[in-house]
Amino acid sequence: MSLNGDLAIDRAATLREEFSAALKNAGAVIVDMNNVNSIDLSFIQLLYSASAEASRDKKTLSLTGTLSKDVRNMLETGGFCRHAPEDAAELETVLFDYHAVAERKVK
């Protein structure tokens, strides 16, 4: 999946459909963040939610590309990670670690 532009609330519903479809059709989904300018909370929620679903279905959802400054700022401000890395693949481990903690609680 290659995403671009500003991923804000107005695109949230469409994006959710795209994520659902991708996870349904493939065992591994790679999200390319290279062309993403900015994100808002709705997208972060979506990412977490998709990642949770992927791990439930024994599929993988991973990130790739370089994160824009705006994107990193948003992640830091929201407390999703303390120092957001530039490399999306690294961010993935940060986010998924957290996710794993949340996962354990669900069990």
């Binding site: 609330i9 949230a12 929620q45 354990r104």
Partner: protein, 710 residues
């Protein structure tokens, strides 16, 4: 009491104004330096605050308005143009005048305030800033509490937006960003409400936060951030640590935080603690506490620790930078006492020697000697100031004068950190102003002429200071026209200072400008050329025990070099004896010592001339000058001194050796004693007089002239 506080405030304000001035000069070179801009703002802010506190209401309300313009600069809405710098410099002078005049301020000063304010308003008006409202005058008094001195508190903010919060266009992350701006901020999101993708309504908000914020601001300001969503979110704010309640207690433990938050009760924690695993881990595994709750509590702990260590750093920083104001009189007194101690110690050492004591008492005397020397050095260092403190004043001088004369001049400084005795620095002020004025007025040419001569349009005056042994060398160089040797010569002939036929070297001609009242300026300008110039400079410098040299290259500029002793309180001297009494030559003037035998005197038929190193050396007998009776020893000594590049010999009975000594003033009664500049107490308790060499050579010269005329 209040008067004393006011006096303190005045002193502090003068200091602040000086700092302000040097910062403004800095901004003229580097107008966008945000650190300096902030410093300028702070100076103004502090003056405003303390002025109001000590009842200088007019100063306070005036500076308040200035401050609001500076605030625009600080926020990048206005930039430090030359115009604004100039205006602020004038403002600085005006505040100084108001401080000196005291309150109530005269109508005239009030009018100046008004004029300055109008200029500020005009400048500020260009960025569309409305004029300060009349109400701001009284607001000044309320605004004096400096925010940075408010205690910092740490708050826990629980922010739980309703799911529908996105609908009215709110972006929770932006709110967090706003909170971030209030202080030290950390937050942890809770996503336990977040469903998996299939059940997710992407347009609803499922996240909530625990935010920990350490800030100077109060609860209300935090609440203001959320002001538009009181209905669409659940917000709880509580203080979890107040820095003004001291920082001595232990850190909050994880369990304590969780108990306080009501996540778990104390008993349960205690049971678990006994099982000796890491508490956080145990809580998650055994007590079924949500891991993100634990994470959040850990974050809080972390955050508090950071806030505390910051507060501690601040306290230590304040301690490290703490200084005490001591009046310079007290320091002078201290130097006097240390001088006495040095003398007494020397007597002790000498007595032990004469009495032939040794063993333990010698060891004690040696330790005392070491300690005394250290005490002396540290006392002297208390009086030392970096000379750079005066440099910024000269920048201002150059700026103002060159503007007035339509010249383009830049002052560069070097070695501002060189330390000199406070008194010396103060007394250097006038001579330096003279020399710099000369450079501005006579040295640097008009810009057009400079361009024609193939020079850079902007002239440079360089002010440099450096240590050179027991002296500090201060040089003032310019790249202007240099001295006009021919002009000086003809002017000197006009004034009858030299005869028409005299063959003078360039250096000798340059020396003529030190003659009293000498000036080559065709017209007396406002700046210099009144004829009180270099002679006064030289006199002042010599009074300081220093010397002046001038080098000049026509068309390329000139350099004036001042050699100034590090301190006035101690001199390196040469101890000599005449008729059983002892005298001290300041070593700075002494070049060598030679023997004078009866035979040598005879050779020159008592003409008081001696051949020394291939030159004729005139000499005087101090015995005669001071009218000391008694027999002259067969072999006498001549101490050769160098005064203004001329050598002159002083005949003494014998030379004892070099001697470092603390200078004592002779007091008012003897202030007109010729040829003496002070006294000192020797190790054996005897008094030795310190010779004033420049004055003595003058006396000798006059005597020689009168004897020639006879």
């Amino acid at each position: 009491m209040i008067e004393r506080f006011r006096e303190n405030f005045r002193e502090e304000a003068y200091e602040l104004l000086n700092t302000l001035e040097s910062h403004l000069m800095h901004l003229e070179e580097d107008p966008s330096n945000s650190e300096v801009i902030a410093a300028v703002f702070r100076s103004m802010h502090t003056i405003k605050g303390s002025a109001a506190m000590f009842g200088f209401d007019q100063i306070s309300s005036f500076t308040h308005e200035v401050e609001s313009v500076l605030d625009l600069v600080r926020n990048g809405k206005l930039s430090f143009t030359r115009e604004l710098t100039g205006l602020t410099l004038r403002t600085r002078d005006h505040i100084r005048e108001m401080l000196e005049a005291g309150e109530p301020v005269s109508e005239e000063l009030d009018r100046i305030s008004e004029t300055l304010m109008n200029e500020y308003r005009k400048l500020a008006g260009t960025v569309g800033q409305s004029e300060p409202k009349p109400g701001t005058k009284s607001a000044a008094k309320n605004a004096i509490v400096d925010e940075e001195h408010e205690p910092e508190n740490t708050f826990l903010v629980r922010f739980k937006p309703n799911q529908t919060i996105f609908e009215n266009g709110t972006n929770p992350l932006l709110l967090l960003n706003e909170l971030k701006g209030l202080g030290d901020f950390s937050c942890i999101p809770y996503m336990d409400r977040l469903p998996e993708l299939s059940g997710l309504d992407a347009e609803k908000c499922y996240v909530s936060w625990d935010i920990i914020l350490t800030t100077h601001k109060g609860v209300n300001e935090i609440r203001d951030v959320f002001i538009f969503l009181e209905d669409s979110a659940n917000i709880e704010i509580q203080v979890i640590e107040r820095s003004d309640l001291g920082m001595d207690g232990p850190h909050k433990l994880l369990g304590q935080i969780l108990v306080e938050r009501g996540v778990i009760d104390r008993d349960r924690i205690e049971t678990i603690v006994r099982s000796q695993k890491r508490l956080g881990q145990m809580l998650v595994e055994d007590a079924g506490v949500n891991p993100s709750v634990v994470q959040s509590a850990l974050d809080e702990q972390d955050h508090l620790e950071r806030a505390r260590s910051r507060a501690r750093d601040r306290v230590q920083g304040e301690l490290a930078a703490s200084t005490i104001r001591v009046s310079s009189e007290k320091l002078d007194q201290q130097v006097d006492l240390v001088g006495e101690l040095v003398t007494l110690q020397a007597r002790l050492s000498q007595s032990i020697l004469t009495l032939g004591l040794d063993g333990q008492i010698t060891a004690i005397a040696e330790s005392l000697e070491r300690l005394t020397a250290e005490l002396r050095d540290s006392t002297m260092s208390m009086r030392m100031l970096p000379i750079g403190t005066t440099f910024s004043k000269f920048k201002r001088l150059v700026r103002d004068l060159s503007n007035e004369l339509g010249k383009d001049i830049e002052l560069t400084t070097d070695g501002g950190e060189t330390e000199l005795d406070k008194t010396v620095i103060e007394r250097l002020n006038d001579p330096l102003i003279h020399i710099i004025r000369n450079s501005i007025d006579h040295g640097i040419e008009m810009p057009e002429k400079r361009v024609n001569d193939g020079k850079l349009r902007t002239g440079t005056i360089r002010l440099a200071a450096a240590h050179a042994g027991a002296f500090v060398q201060i040089s003032i160089s310019d790249n202007g026209a240099g001295l006009d040797i021919a002009k000086i010569r003809s002017r000197a002939i006009e004034r009858g200072l030299v005869s028409k036929e005299a063959q003078l070297s360039d250096d000798e001609v340059i020396g003529l400008i030190f003659a009293p009242g000498f000036s080559t300026a065709d017209a007396v300008t406002k700046v210099s050329g009144r004829g009180v110039g270099m002679d006064v400079v030289r006199k002042e410098i010599e009074n300081l025990g220093g010397s002046v040299q001038i080098q000049s290259q026509q068309g390329e500029g000139m350099t004036t070099t001042l050699n100034i002793p590090l301190t006035l309180a101690i001199i390196e001297g040469l101890l000599v004896e005449i008729g059983g009494d002892r005298y001290v030559f300041p070593l700075a003037h002494v070049t060598e010592c030679v023997e004078l035998t009866e035979q040598m005197r005879g050779e020159h038929r008592n003409r008081r001339m001696l051949e020394n190193r291939g030159e004729l050396l005139p000499y005087v007998s101090l015995r005669e000058v001071f009218e000391i009776k008694g027999d002259t020893p067969v072999i006498q000594q001549i101490v050769v001194a160098n005064i203004e590049n001329r050598k002159i010999g002083f005949v003494v009975d014998s030379v004892i050796g070099d001697y470092q000594t603390v200078i004592k003033s002779l007091g008012k009664v003897y202030h007109d004693a010729r040829g003496l500049s002070g006294a000192t107490i020797l190790g054996d308790g005897a008094v030795a007089l310190i010779l004033d060499i420049p004055q003595l050579s003058q006396i000798a010269m006059n005597d020689a002239e009168t004897s020639l005329k006879r």
